[in-house]
């Protein structure tokens, strides 16, 4: 698909169908046919492995930010031994700039539920938990209703569609902690503890919830599974960018005229998303910078964006990442020092405190940036910040320290003049 074809794309995840969130309307539009197919059509789906292979073939790269092939992740589950196995669906959605999964909860919850059920069948899972951030109270209630309806209709529960497959499905509410979006922290939170990330290995597929095999997938990723089973891996692979295929829910926020969540193929040019899809810059201002996929993905200057598309490979060429595709757009009046300080404040606030480089490092990043923001910084503080980022990155249990370090490193490197202008011009006098 060329980069122009996105203009004619028709949404499949969040199509324009009234009341699709209700199970009746969802069923009328072919809902739960994919689940029925994998459970009953033995010609098409002879075994669980055939389902995993189709999903692997589709190359759904995890939409939670890491971009790992979902089917491949499923294949890491050890063979079933008769004991419990879990699927933990990650609806924690807390990375600044990210607000897409809530659209699935609200507009098409059953596409997600169906995808999760297919995943559960494929991996011989016995219980599914969907972990939703506590702030999303409204969406938690919507999901509880949707799950209840699916139980009532027999899509969840014992011997689904008369097959030997049985599974339970529950909502688990978070209570305000960004770190619980990290997969092992989420498992701790599900187990009723403080959300401290676990040391890997062992990986969740070996030892997850209560020491049992567990797979963790993002909400949008699981919703795509339903489309892949309905339309085939070939269809999915032909939507958007070849190495990062499929539709994506782009969340666009910041200084644009029409912020919101848009379902489009992967690989839409960044500038088209801003100027066409999101209605252009607010108040006719000039574009200054873009954070492409949530606050941890490296910021890009406007002059870096020509020809860059929203997929992992294209963004890598300019030193950034797709992340969650939660794009934050900044206009010419944006103070990059203020923005970076606010991001640093966020990571400091959300560091769980387990690892010293993160607990202390995020605090120092924020403190030094505050000093610079207040005009008290010196040029050498910028180098201190850059040095700090290298001491944090890769030295902790989870990736929060990396997520805190990257924005600092790349924002300073890409807007160095602006940071230097805020620093004191005098040479530090040792008096």
């Amino acid at each position: 698909m060329s980069t122009e074809n996105w203009k004619t794309y028709e949404p499949v995840l969040i199509p324009d169908i009234k009341n699709l969130h209700t199970i009746e309307v969802y069923e009328k539009n072919g809902g739960y046919n994919a689940l029925k197919s994998v459970l009953t059509d033995k010609k098409k789906w002879p075994d669980q492995k055939s389902v995993i292979n189709e999903v692997k073939e589709a190359n759904i790269r995890g939409r939670g930010g890491a971009g790992f092939n979902a089917g491949l992740k499923w294949s890491f589950m050890p063979p079933a031994d008769g004991g419990p196995r879990y699927l933990a669906c990650n609806g924690d959605e807390s990375e600044p700039g990210t607000f897409k999964d809530r659209k699935i909860f609200e507009y098409n919850p059953h596409a997600f539920i169906e995808g999760a059920l297919i995943a559960a069948y494929a991996m011989e899972i016995t219980t599914i938990y969907v972990y939703i951030r506590g702030e999303y109270r409204a969406y938690i209630q919507m999901m509880e209703k949707a799950i209840e309806d699916a139980y009532r209709k027999g899509f969840i529960g014992k011997k689904i569609f008369g097959s030997p497959f049985s599974v339970d499905f529950y909502v688990h509410s978070g209570a305000g902690a960004y770190i619980c979006g990290e997969e092992t922290s989420m498992l701790e939170s599900l187990e009723g503890k403080r959300g401290y990330p676990r040391v890997k290995p062992p990986f969740p597929a070996q030892k997850g919830l209560w020491g049992r095999p567990t797979t963790i997938n993002n909400i949008e990723t699981l919703a795509h599974v339903t489309s892949v089973i309905n339309r085939g891996a070939e269809w999915f692979k032909n939507v958007g960018a070849a190495t990062h295929p499929g539709p994506i829910l782009y969340g666009i926020s910041g200084h644009v005229n029409k912020p919101g969540v848009y379902e489009l193929p992967s690989g839409v040019p960044v500038l088209d998303l801003i100027h066409d899809v999101a209605g252009g810059m607010r108040n006719g201002k000039k574009l200054k910078a873009v954070i492409p996929g949530g606050s941890s993905t490296p910021v890009l200057r406007a002059d870096q964006l020509d020809g860059i598309t929203m997929d992992a490979d294209s963004l890598r060429t300019v030193g950034s990442m797709l992340g969650t595709a939660g794009m934050v757009v900044m206009d010419e009046d944006t103070d990059m020092v203020d923005v970076l300080w606010r991001i640093a404040h966020f990571y400091h606030h959300e560091s769980c405190g387990q690892c010293t480089p993160c607990r202390e490092g995020t605090g120092w990043l924020e403190k030094i940036l505050l000093k610079i923001k207040n005009g008290q910084g010196e040029i050498r503080d910028l180098d201190l910040l850059l040095d700090l980022t290298t001491q944090m990155e890769g030295r902790t249990i989870c990736a929060l320290a990396d997520a805190a370090a990257w924005p600092v490193r790349f924002t300073i490197n890409r807007f160095r003049d602006e940071f230097e202008a805020r620093c004191k011009k005098s040479v530090h006098a040792l008096v």
Binding site: E106, E135, S173, G174, V277, V328, D338
Partner: protein, 176 residues
Amino acid sequence: MDYKFTKEDLQEIENLKSRYPEIKPVTLPALWIAQRRFGHVEPEVQKLVADTLGLPEAHVHGVASFYTQYYKEKKGKYVLDVCTCLSCQLCGGYDILHYLEEKLGIKKGETTKDGVFTLNEVECLGACGYAPMLQITNDTYVNHLTKEKVDTLIESLKEDKVPEYEKIEMPLRKNN
């Protein structure tokens, strides 16, 4: 004060137990039930949760203190959590926060003398496209805030009218 769960609360907690292979995971939902019942989870409430579940008080305290949404102390009747993180910062979240500080005569983190409002500055609430915004007492999101909208909100909350859930339609490109 003597805190007690109602019969319905205890039934809800009992029902939750069947969702998990052990008792510990009920800690988070039980704290939610307690907070909705008492308005906070002060240490005495934490003890009630611990006793009800048969778990050590230290465990419940550890959990309650880790998660920001559990109120470890009494709050105002309406807790206004103003998001100032990234997209909200860009779209004037701090203006809204400062306007509320001025309007309510308190600083962030404080409660008005009459006990009606608590004002907080919070991290990203996942409403980035609808910034600036705030959340009322862990529940309703109020989006696209302006000073006028804040004025109306405060007036209606004073009369105990909590705004309804604001449905935000998916933007349709074909309508461009």
